[in-house]
């Protein structure tokens, strides 16, 4: 279980205007500015949950993840992860968690992943039998066989990520912090990693906290979403709830039988590309609209969808940016 209460993390950032004179001045006198990376965030995550952290760049997602994994000391507030205070980095805590950062590698660069695994087995004191079982399982699920004895530097980005995940999970952690685990990967590889994470979550009842720029990752993996913007929590709940709250209207797409059919009474037209049309229709009007489309208009390829999460978030963050500008 993960608990964060009133979590605040401030960074002191050294500020100096450009130019030589100010560079010289900053040698002797430095001005600092306090940046609130995380500003009073609270949440509780139960064992076995899969939670997605969403937010624009610099919103405080990675900072929160680093506080939870024990790399950063919170400025104030309380954080516990599986009953440990993360920043103490006690052995018992480190054995329960793992942090995977898509941008940073823990594999030994010039050696095959097998060597990193052996090293991790030793430092995490994984019993030999359990190590063999876990490695066998990971090798099968991630298809590591052919990669095991290639130096890490020769692996492709996707192959490396699979090996990173295995290295991070050999000690069978029960809390996984995954920061952009699919960054730079192609769609097939993203799917493979996603499937794998879900399966690990289910077989080991592990808690998964994920940040990703790919909304698909988050939608596919995380029933619960925590949205952070400018250091504050602006939504915590399931995906449907977020979509309902922000934009309850459905997207109805179809291909017209006749290009000049009248659509004016059916809702607002979002896109129209030849005979392919997307409408925005409220839930209340949906049955009427659909029957009209299928009946008199006889449209083809009808699809009814929620608005894309990207749009919802753009709307959400845009709204907040406006609120901040107007001093109401």
């Amino acid at each position: 279980m993960i608990r964060a209460r009133d979590l605040v993390k401030n960074f002191k950032v050294h500020k100096r205007p450009p130019g030589f004179a100010s560079a010289l001045r900053s040698l002797f006198h430095r001005t600092y500015e306090t940046v609130k990376a995380v500003d009073g965030v609270s949440f509780t995550i139960e064992r076995g949950e899969r939670v997605g952290f969403l937010g624009p760049n610099g919103a405080g997602k990675t900072t929160t993840l680093k506080v939870l994994s024990g790399l950063l000391h919170p400025t104030s507030g309380e954080v516990t992860v599986e009953d440990h205070i993360p920043f103490k980095r006690q052995t018992a805590f480190l054995e329960k968690i793992t942090l995977v950062m898509g941008q940073k590698s823990q594999l030994i660069w010039d050696l095959p992943p097998a060597e990193t695994y052996a090293l991790n087995r030793a430092v995490f004191a994984v019993p030999e039998a359990q190590y063999k079982a876990t490695l066998g399982e990971l090798t099968e699920l991630l298809d590591l066989g052919p990669l095991m004895n290639k130096p890490a530097r020769q692996l492709s980005l996707g192959e490396r990520m699979k090996c990173e995940l295995a290295a991070a999970l050999l000690h069978r952690p029960t809390t996984l912090f995954l920061d952009e685990p699919t960054i730079g990967l192609d769609v097939a590889m993203q799917l493979a990693i996603r499937d794998f994470i879900r399966r690990y979550n289910q077989t080991h009842e592990a808690t998964v906290i994920l940040t990703s720029h790919y909304m698909d990752d988050v939608v596919a993996l995380c029933p619960r979403i925590i949205v952070i913007d400018a250091g504050t929590l602006i939504h915590d709940g399931d995906l449907r709830g977020l979509i309902k709250a922000m934009d309850p209207d459905k997207r109805v797409s179809f291909t017209l039988a006749n290009a000049d059919d009248d659509l004016s009474k059916l809702g607002s037209i979002l896109t129209r590309d030849g005979q392919r049309v997307t409408l925005r229709v409220s839930e209340r009007e949906l049955p009427g609209v659909v029957s009209h489309l299928l009946g008199p208009l006889a449209v083809g390829d009808l699809a009814i969808e929620d608005p894309p999460l990207e749009d919802i978030l753009r709307q959400l963050f845009g709204q907040r940016a406006k609120e901040k500008e107007s001093p109401a």
Partner: protein, 267 residues
């Protein structure tokens, strides 16, 4: 981070360290290049002593001194600071912090694993040393030779710890690398790497006697090449033990402060 854990993990850490030594060929090359400086110095000081002895050193003495220096540096050199600084700068140190073995211990194991390889390179040099000097410029006292192994081990530990501490300064400074240049300057001058400490000019020599640098190179070299009294050997050993403890303490201090800063400002 338990000590027992590190102890039990040691065989694997050493084994992987050996694999790393073999794989990091570029680093090996750098190391071979940097450790040829004693050979340059050998030629230089031999020229100086061409007309007889220089401050008590004959050509044979200089040859013995610098070949011994070459051996000591091969066995007891360490470049861990570059790695520490680089990992901090790149952010991969985070990964080390989340492992239940202290990075000092993990890196020490990884680097110590390369020592046997370096000994293999050092042995032929030792052989040449024995033949070329005819033994006349070498120490023969059993105590000195017996103390050589512990002295080399401590020389390595001091070098490793100080390098580690300088590397850890990257937690505070975005460009800690400049400090290495300063460090190497002091090291080369005061460790006996460029010239025996007893031919340094008076005041510099006094400074050199009081700093840890001489215990990284000069002391083990003296054990091999200079005839010392039992008291002198034991006294020097005691001082080396002191500097070993002090260096590790300094490394731990800088490290702890650095990590605390890292926890508060991020990497």
């Amino acid at each position: 981070m338990s000590i027992g854990r590190a102890f039990r993990a040691m065989p694997t850490m050493l084994r992987v360290g050996v694999a790393e030594t073999v794989a990091y060929r570029a680093e090996f090359l750098v190391w071979i290049l940097t450790t040829t400086i004693p050979l340059v110095m050998l030629g230089l000081w031999n020229a100086v002593a061409a007309q007889g002895t220089f401050k008590g050193y004959s050509q044979a003495d200089f040859t013995a001194y610098f070949l011994a220096t070459l051996i000591v540096r091969n066995v007891a050199g360490s470049w861990v600071g570059w790695q520490v600084g680089e990992e901090i700068r790149m952010g991969t140190m985070s990964m080390r912090l989340l492992r239940p073995v202290h990075p000092f211990v993990a890196l020490a194991a990884s680097h110590a694993a390369s020592i046997p390889f370096r000994c293999v390179v050092a042995l032929p040099v030792a052989f040449i040393l024995l033949i070329s000097s005819g033994g006349s410029s070498l120490a023969t006292e059993p105590l000195q030779l017996a103390m050589l192994a512990p002295a080399l081990l401590m020389a390595w530990l001091i070098t490793f710890a100080i390098m580690f501490a300088i590397g850890a300064l990257a937690f505070f400074l975005t460009r800690a690398m400049g400090l290495f240049s300063l460090y190497f300057l002091l090291f080369m001058l005061l460790s006996g790497y460029l010239m025996p400490i007893d031919i340094l000019p008076g005041p510099i020599r006094v400074v050199a006697e009081w700093l840890p640098f001489r215990y990284m190179v000069s002391f083990p070299v003296e054990l091999m090449t200079k005839s010392m009294s039992t008291t002198a050997v034991l006294e020097q050993l005691a001082l080396q033990v002191g500097w070993t403890i002090a260096s590790i303490a300094i490394a731990m201090f800088v490290w702890r402060r650095g990590v605390r800063r890292f926890e508060s400002v991020g990497g």
